[in-house]
């Protein structure tokens, strides 16, 4: 093919445009100057300049998770790439499609410890789905297309393309077009129909079934969430969700038992423990979910739908594995269910629901209301109540506030809750909110934060202000790394080693320093007013919501405990489980 010759930098930008990319989150440096030059010369792709490369990746994650599109990142070599590593690892563990283009020193300098050289493909090998070092400009166009295909197909994930500076300058006429057919990577989306049949039969015979859904439903796309809703309603069975899956099934629906796992609801965990058939839909039996493995749902037949074969039988052995995309598999299941089961008249599960209702009566999310101090749970209940009719997206940081957000924000739709589940990255929420706001400029985007986590990417106030992003940062300020403090209370004799948030900034003054608006609130009576003020203020707002300092996050399945050994808020005694202190 001898068409027009383009520089490597142009090839990258043109390929991104061809692939439908509208936004790049990035930060310049020596090794990507040709790329920034190519960006300068075009107006199809918008570049969002962050203040730290970690934030670029989290912003891209927020963008991706709230839209279903790919998040694209551009950073320089060496420190630019190493700063991105936390974000890449986060995207890897939560299966978020990210393309991260990193600059590299010129090919002839690789391996010489050149200025700002780092072995980026070596460093990111374990925290990406795949990575490329481009040494031939003729292959560049094909690699960009292939990287997109790998990032978005199968189980999504981050892909790094490391591009030496000279490759960005060299020219080539080789331009890839059309679909990618990879030599070795060809993920399957359709599930094995005989396994699906078997699953439907087992489910039809259940007396105590439960659906357990996860982030895979959201990754699969809106059709998957619709099919899940239809199928679950048709069966009349209860459903619980992981942190990553929240919103796929509406929280207000009576069949929804709330989140399961370490800080899941009493009813969800007991139902998981006592069920006779479990249908795991796009979730991976994570240790936060299962509790003590030997005691995990001991008497159930387990059906597991997952696009990643390596997720199956990884920690929990299942009876019917179905490898495939959630939407495809649910579609087949639904068809079979309608054809074979509905006709015969299905079970009503009345006894099972009676048991579940007993667990529900424990009202496990109840907490003691106070007059003088704001309980963090109350703050989230009010935030939920006052925003529920808005076009609202939530992100979170990591800690107690994150778990409370998962418990008290009643999520009705998928792609509306962005949180760092697998890696648990403090500092995720604010940049993720920036990415969400870029994708949804008119939506209300709220980062539910802790006073410690927010400081991990607080520099992004600059980014949000530069692009006029009206992100709302709602800090549940308990003056502690609350989750750490809670574990110290439970497992380490209440020795609060290094978990007090000393020397906090004046968040209102901080907001002001960046030209944003700040609000402090510390009395329950003023809370609604503060939330309203936050919503009514145009532009970025930080709410410093001073909450009860020593509140603990319950219910809780302590590390090393089983689902039916939960601690409820009103149970004073905090049991230590054998080996609990050694577990994470």
């Amino acid at each position: 093919m001898s068409g027009k010759a383009y520089s490597g930098a142009e090839i990258i930008i043109n390929s991104l445009v061809d692939l439908g990319v509208e936004v790049i989150f990035g930060y310049p440096g020596g090794a990507v100057l040709p790329l920034y030059d190519a960006l300068f010369a075009q107006d199809k792709i918008r570049h969002i300049l962050v203040r730290h490369e970690q934030a670029a990746v989290h912003a891209a994650e927020g963008y991706a998770r709230s839209t279903g599109k790919v998040g694209v990142v551009l950073v320089t070599s060496g420190p630019g790439a190493t700063n991105a590593v936390t974000g890449l690892t986060d995207a890897m563990l939560d299966s978020i499609p990210i393309i991260c283009i990193t600059g590299q020193v010129p090919v002839h300098l690789i391996g010489s410890d050149a200025f700002q050289e780092a072995d980026t493909v070596g460093i990111t090998r374990h925290c990406t789905k795949h990575n490329y070092l481009v040494k031939d400009v003729d292959k560049l166009s094909r690699i960009v297309h292939e990287a997109f295909y790998v990032a978005t197909s199968g189980r999504p994930g981050p892909v790094v393309i490391d591009v030496p500076k000279d490759i960005q300058i060299f020219t080539s006429t080789n331009i890839h077009s059309g679909a990618i057919k990879h030599r070795s990577y060809r993920p399957e989306v359709k599930g094995d129909i005989s396994a699906i049949k078997e699953a439907v039969e087992i489910l039809a015979g259940a007396k105590k079934p439960i659906f357990y859904s996860g982030g895979g439903v959201i990754n699969s796309g809106p059709a998957a969430a619709q099919l899940l809703r239809e199928f679950v309603r048709l069966t009349g069975a209860p459903i619980t969700s992981t942190l990553m899956g929240l919103g796929a099934y509406p929280a207000s629906d009576k069949q929804f038992l709330g989140m399961l796992g370490m800080h899941g609801t009493y009813e969800a965990n007991h139902a998981m423990h006592d069920c006779d058939v479990m249908v795991c839909v796009g979730a991976r039996f994570d240790d936060r979910v299962t509790g003590r493995l030997e005691a995990f749902s001991p008497n159930s037949k387990k059906i597991h739908i997952d696009i990643d074969r390596s997720s199956i039988n990884k920690t929990v052995r299942v009876d019917v594995p179905i490898v495939g995309d959630v939407a495809h598999v649910l579609e087949d299941m639904l068809k079979l269910w309608k054809a074979a089961i509905l006709e015969k008249g299905q079970q009503s599960y009345a006894d099972w629901w009676a048991e579940i209702d007993k667990w529900r009566e424990r009202d496990c999310l109840r907490y003691a209301k106070t007059k003088d101090t704001i309980m963090p749970q109350y703050a989230l209940e009010r935030l939920q109540a006052l925003t529920k009719d808005k076009d609202v997206y939530f992100t979170t940081e990591v800690g107690q506030h994150q778990m409370w957000a998962a418990q008290y924000l009643k999520l009705e739709d998928p792609n509306r809750f962005m949180t760092s589940g697998g890696l648990g990255t403090m500092g995720y929420g604010f940049p993720a909110a920036i990415g969400v706001q870029i994708a949804h400029p008119n939506a209300l985007v709220i980062d539910v934060a802790g006073e410690a986590s927010i400081q991990m990417n607080i520099q992004e106030l600059g980014t949000a202000m530069q692009y006029g992003l009206p992100v709302k940062i709602f800090i549940l300020n308990n003056e502690y790394m609350g989750m750490v403090r809670q574990w110290q209370e439970m497992n380490h004799g209440a020795r609060y080693s290094q978990s007090y948030s000393e020397s906090l900034p004046d968040f209102v003054a901080l907001a002001k320093a960046y030209g944003a608006h700040g609000i402090t609130v510390d009395r329950p009576a003023d809370l609604d007013g503060a939330i309203r003020e936050m919503m009514e203020t145009d532009g970025l707002v930080i709410v410093d919501c001073r909450v009860e300092k020593l509140a603990n996050c319950f219910p809780m399945v302590p590390s090393g405990a089983a689902h039916n050994e939960m601690i409820l808020p009103d149970e004073e005694e905090i049991k230590e489980f054998e080996g609990g202190a050694a577990l994470v």
Partner: protein
């Protein structure tokens, strides 16, 4: 990785054959997966096997409980440049061979003994000086180990092994 007593008891030895795209870094990906996830590698061989050099075959001998072996295969299969993963131990009869070079230093009676043993093991002499030999021996891992053990008594200097190469029996490819 932490192994319970039971896990050690149930551990099996499996020979895996992995066909990969012969691209830069592919071996690092495969090995990195083993170290990153705490799997064992007993043997590892790798070389391109087609004339164009576009595909390589990696043979790994690993030890783990059946669920761990299943995980290893699934994880390998997930790597983008991996075409196929075969479990020769599971798929039936197969041939396994290693090659070793063994250098010994000896004189007189020791020398005679060494040559007798070498003959019994069908080892070839590929280098010799007045007081030294290098033997080349091929066979199953047990045979190679036995040969090296015997050579220790007659003046072993150093030894090198290629690790296991293996193919299934019969006409079928992996």
């Amino acid at each position: 990785m932490h192994h319970t007593h039971k896990e050690i008891e149930l551990a099996e030895r499996h020979t895996l054959s992995i066909i990969v795209d012969n691209e830069a870094g592919v071996l690092a990906r495969v090995i990195g997966l083993f170290s990153g996830r705490g799997y064992n590698i007993e043997h590892l061989t790798v070389a391109p096997v087609d004339l164009q050099g576009t595909e390589s075959r990696i043979t790994v001998v690993t030890i783990g409980t059946p669920p761990v072996i299943e995980q290893i295969k699934a994880q390998l299969d997930r790597l983008v440049p991996v075409h196929r993963v075969g479990d020769l131990t599971e798929s039936g009869p197969h041939v396994e061979r290693e090659l070793a070079l063994i250098k010994i230093h000896c004189k007189g009676e020791q020398q005679q003994a060494a040559l007798r043993i070498a003959e019994a093991f069908r080892a070839k002499i590929v280098d010799s000086s007045f007081e030294s030999y290098i033997f080349e021996v091929t066979g199953k891992t047990d045979k190679i180990k036995a040969f090296i053990r015997l050579m220790e008594d007659v003046g072993l200097v150093e030894a090198v092994r290629t690790g296991v190469a293996a193919l299934t029996r019969g006409a079928q490819a992996l």
